[in-house]
């Protein structure tokens, strides 16, 4: 009864308002937030200055917009790569590298040669950076003119006098950006209300359950342990792939460094420029699960590679070309972890076949990069290749 009176009373209050004043209230409230976002311009697209950043991991879809801020924020180490290293946090980096006090992870979805060249070119000239780590993924097998859809190059070529720039700013509104803008206004630092709650990329959280049958919340509390087995359908898909592609898994791709131009046209000029500025460079290959080289040959696989055949040999060629391209440049090292059996043969290291889900593995990789204990050179590459090839060829699923 009381509830009814309250309801009637609250509705009777509505009599004092007209239809339009009530109906359009959300429009005016959200409109004010929208226009505030436009005026604040939190990413410095047109009239805003590059924002101040904090030392926490930024959301995946935001990081690629922060290049200007990274240049002005006195970071001393930058990690750049794709989805395979998005989960590495500044805290992990800081813990693994002794001389580093302010690292930043600038990884975004599927970096491609054109955007990587642009970013590395700018980072190599950035003051205060002492070390740059580049995660070299399969996407760098792509042609030189390919640009990632996740890197908003046009943000960096905006100007106050170009209507296209205004249009881009007007279109870029979403609640996450609005939250960032309001926090920037309030605290002077670009931050997001949900920035600290999740150290793992959103897409990994979403797909974890699909691939492993484990809920994100259970996984997060277990500090990386997948207590339940994967759904059997995924396991059987992997086993089928191993049976079916055993004979062709390491077939020659018939390509050389000409077909992998990113090594000589992107990484080498960058490393030379960085060396001139006294910046230490580490290129490394995020290790994929051994079963990936079988699974990716299957048409059912979700991987988007320019060439769908001889994938193992294509990636091996990429590795060889990168090692050759960076050979002899001072302060540059190339590391690989593919022959670490405990990482790559265990499918539970990954939530699929390439994205590592255990923090301990990331920490191990970072420590070994710092120690430069897994370095590939022109001299030891053949031995690495031979071991790697044998491991992949003789791989037996243990699940």
């Amino acid at each position: 009864m009381k509830l009814r009176i309250l309801t009637l009373r609250s509705f009777s209050l509505l009599r004092h308002f007209s239809f339009l004043s009530v109906a359009l209230l959300p429009f005016f409230v959200v409109g004010i937030i929208y226009w505030s976002y436009i005026f604040i311009d939190p990413y410095g697209l047109i009239w805003g200055a590059p924002p101040r950043l904090n030392d926490k991991p930024y959301p995946d879809n935001v990081r690629a917009r922060l290049l200007r801020a990274v240049e002005t924020e006195n970071f001393d180490m930058v990690l750049i790569g794709g989805s395979t290293v998005m989960s590495i946090t500044p805290a992990m980096m800081k813990a693994s590298f002794d001389e580093i006090s302010r690292p930043f992870n600038f990884s975004y979805g599927v970096p491609l040669p054109a955007d990587l060249k642009y970013i590395l070119g700018r980072l190599a000239k950035t003051k205060n950076i002492k070390r740059i780590i580049v995660a070299v993924d399969y996407s760098l097998v792509s042609p030189l003119d390919q640009m990632s859809v996740f890197f908003p190059i046009k943000n960096y070529t905006s100007s106050q006098f170009n209507p296209q720039s205004w249009f881009r700013l007007a279109r870029s509104f979403n609640w996450q950006n609005a939250d960032g803008a309001l926090n920037l206004l309030r605290t002077g630092t670009l931050s997001f209300s949900w920035q600290n709650s999740n150290e793992w990329p959103e897409f990994m959280r979403r797909e974890l359950t699909a691939f492993t049958g484990v809920e994100w919340s259970d996984f997060a509390h277990g500090e990386g342990d997948i207590s339940n087995p994967r759904p059997s359908a995924v396991q059987s898909r992997f086993r089928d792939a191993v049976d079916r592609y055993r004979d062709i898994v390491d077939a020659p791709a018939g390509i050389g460094c000409t077909e992998v131009p990113a090594a000589t046209h992107v990484l080498r000029p960058f490393a030379q420029e960085a060396a001139r500025h006294g910046i230490k460079v580490d290129a490394f290959f995020p290790p994929y699960a051994t079963v990936a080289y079988y699974d990716w040959l299957s048409p059912k696989s979700f991987l988007a590679l320019p060439r769908r055949t001889a994938i193992f040999d294509q990636l091996l060629t990429l590795k060889r070309c990168v090692v050759e391209a960076l050979d002899g440049i001072p302060n540059v090292a190339v590391s690989a972890f593919d022959n670490e059996d405990w990482i790559t043969s265990n499918i539970y290291t990954y939530y699929d076949t390439s994205h590592i889900i255990r923090k301990s593995v990331y920490r191990y990789i970072l420590e070994k990069i710092e120690a430069r204990s897994h370095v590939l050179t022109v001299t030891n590459f053949n031995e690495f290749e031979s071991r790697f090839r044998n491991r992949v060829r003789n791989y037996t699923p243990d699940f």
Binding site: V22, A23, K154
Partner: protein, 540 residues
Amino acid sequence: MLFVESHFIFIFLPIVIALFYLAGTLSGKYAALTVICLSSVVFYFPNSIAGDNPNISHLVLATSLLLASVAINFAIACYLTDEGTKSHTTARKAVFTIGMTLNFGALALFKYTNEFLKLAEGTNYAPLIAIGIPAGISFYTFHQAVVLSDCYNRKSETLEVFKRSASDDVISRLKAYLRSAISYGAFILLFPQLVIGPISYLAEIAPQYLKRSFGKLRRIDIAIGTTLFAIGFFKKVVIADYLGGIADSGFSTAAAGGTMAAARAWQAALAYYGQLYFDFSGYSDMAVGIARLFGLRFPNNFDSPLRAVGIADFYQRWHMTLTRVIAKFLFTPLSLWGTRFAADRVLSGWKRKTVALWIPLWLNFFVIALWHGATSTFFLFGLVHGSWYILETEIKGAKLWRRYKRATSERQRQIFGQFIATIGLILTFALFRSSDLPSFARLLTSMIGRGEDGVALPISSLDWAVIAASFAIVWLLPNAYELLGRYRPNIKTFTNVTMTPWWFRFEWRPTPCWGLFVAVLLAIAFVKLGTKIPFLYGQF
């Protein structure tokens, strides 16, 4: 620029509305129409080619194509409506034919050339038209073709738009041309209907321009427009986009060569059926609502089609403005021609029906299918719907049906019809959504429980709840036009029987309580601002 994008809602629309009413109040209706013309070009330009990063030169080309098309059609319409050319039958016919050929030629060139090349040469085809498909080309082609046809037939409402000055004074004559050009341009370019319809007739919209109240702010127009906009916005961003996520995962698994568990396949098919309705009807509601913000009433495009009792009923409720335009300009002339042909040759029985009804119906559905794109799935979709329509027409004309009608109640027939229609439509729209025929076959295989659960995606109970809630809205609640029926929110395209249960037949009024309803819809929809999921029909 999409209706659901923040810059449309908070920058473009308020500015255009303000300028429109300012111009209308200070300088009259032609100034207000000029605001519509110019703002529509601004609206069209950035989205004139689909895609996130279209080439600027392609945008210029697509916008130029639209403007050139408007100019050429206007010139042809002026010729066809000129009193002086009334007696030049052959010349008028020739000019009309040229106009139609140009319109449909451009549509074929820009929309279908690449598609046919792809069909003929497989995935390695070299695109002949590199700029992509100009947005809205199907819609503005149909709009202009209808105008030319009305001009050729000298329809009185259309002639009014192209009325010449009786004076010999050059300035007066130029002014008359300018007024015609502005009225015609404002109709074709009118941004609420430019990209995804509805397909209205100039004869429906132009008389509204001529009203004395046009260009003058009326509170009731804003109230109705806001309500329709809010309903459409909610349908699109809250319901359709959620259902789209469910549908996409199932259809993309089938497209990638996989199969899935039966429940998941049915979930995907059901979700797509709902998504397409909420997406497209949501767009139409928003378009009708935006038009009403300018004091204009558009024809109705949807009338609870998911409650249809058969395929014929479905097409009287689904994308009604396309159905009526194809019926008017294709089916009716073809059927008349077939009837005459059958009479001349004294054909009877199935031979007469084939010529007078079946072939025109098949062609009708073939064109509807082709309108969506030249792919094998659309062809099969058109073929199935055409055959279904013929079968249903024949069954309803048979003695057996009359006996069945006597033996059953209206309600029983309605439920039975809805059951058959719903199953058939879910399956055929799954075909419509599939990327190719093998993908559709995989989905069907999964639906009958013969697929292996490839990636074992979990089946969420929330997804089922949303699907159930969406279909409850479809089956129980009044549609936007029933809700606002008292205020004649639109022009009736077809008259259909309402199937809303009487206890849910709410009636909207511009009261604070209904204002609260609209505010809640808007507030929930605003949560999804910035998601940028395009309207499904934008691709057609």
